[in-house]
Symmetry: C2
Subunit: 205 residues, 2 copies
DNA sequence: TAATCGATTCGACCAATGGTCGAAAATAAA
DNA sequence: TTTATTTTCGACCATTGGTCGAATCGATTA
């Protein structure tokens, strides 16, 4: 009963932070504020979390858990064609990237401090997805649909580019430019894996 | 004379921060500390910089200025072959990435707060290098050595992968894995730009 | 030299923060 | 009921980034 109780209380705190995060950046949210929003005393926060950072950590993990898990499950269906599964990965990256996006800040919001959350996010996503995507590519190689000698490296490259570009905080650019880069990635992928031009267009969604 | 004076004083402060940064993380360095290390009063810091963050910004910029500038100059020599110029870019990325690397921290250093410096770094490097690399690729296309339809996208992809992997904080991995990814990138590049396998190996250094 | 004026320096000071603590309240065990 | 344990709380602490007005400096002018 202890664990369960803790779980719900922690989630209560996480909910509060998530709500606050909708219109302020982390650095502008104090622990007292979180406590207030969660309807508990500030001291209690530290009964459930060792530090402010750890709360953020927990929220990031909680947020990514669900969509990532389902994406992983889907992408693991080896009965589906490798490229279709790859499309699922692309989708997951797109979804994840928008999950944490905050609205236009009225104040001269830094967005720079939020960078650290996104970074966590990217790290998590890449490390979780890399083995899955590697497997997919491996399957494609075995089935003769992909010709490439470095499956793991290819997986990592694709994930890095996708994540960085879709996140849009590390290399900020207009939506069109982002699309253009992804188009380039797909084109590179086609030629690099020995597939005809345009055959992977469906990855664009 | 005013500007010059300011310049040197600012550099003095930057030097202090850089030294401090050798064995502490930014978040553990207070403005007073910087002032003390710089041998001036805390108030004076705010005469030259509007905020603590801006000091970090300035340091990042100063650090990257020199190596980036020389790399850009070299890479602009259109008389040199595109691939050789590309190798210069690769070099610059390698150099830059090690510039800010701090030694093993004795304490339970966060490395997480340093992430934000590196992020700035990457941002800067990519935005500075992208046009240069795009030009190089363009030249390669015109000279018939590169066959690819999205020069800017390709430039961005290469820079993102290089920067992220060489930085090694966003997707931490062993040196061998980093090398393997870069090898994969090169292989992808070869096939994607219509060049024979192994022809771009020299990019590995 | 004396007077004046802006540029520069400084550290006491402020509000706010993350985190601690011990005492109270609630809950479970006896 | 009594005892033991878990949970809650907000006053409190040390420290931080940043402000402010007074003091000092340096050059310019008369």
């Amino acid at each position: 009963m202890k664990d369960l109780q803790n779980q719900t209380k922690q989630n209560q705190i996480l909910d509060a932070l998530q709500t606050l995060l909708e219109d302020k950046t982390i650095q502008n949210i104090s622990v007292s504020e979180i406590a207030q929003a969660a309807g508990i005393g500030k001291g209690s926060i530290y009964y459930y979390f060792p530090s402010k950072d750890s709360i953020v950590d927990a929220l990031v993990e909680r947020s990514y858990e669900k969509p990532l898990e389902t994406a992983k499950k889907l992408a693991r269906q080896t009965s589906i064609s490798p490229f279709t599964r790859m499309a699922l990965i692309f989708q997951a990256c797109r979804n994840s990237s928008s999950a944490f996006r905050s609205q236009e800040d009225s104040a001269q919001s830094d967005a720079k401090d939020e960078a650290f959350i996104r970074q966590k996010y990217m790290k998590h996503l890449i490390s979780e997805m890399k083995p899955v995507l590697t497997d997919i590519i491996q399957q494609g190689i075995e089935e003769g649909q992909i010709h490439f000698d470095h499956p793991a490296a290819l997986a990592e490259i694709v994930l890095i580019v996708l994540t960085v570009k879709l996140d849009n905080s590390l290399v900020p650019s207009e939506p069109e430019e982002t699309e253009e880069t992804i188009r380039g990635l797909i084109s590179l992928l086609e030629k690099g894996t020995g597939n005809p031009v345009g055959s992977l267009n469906f990855l664009m969604i």
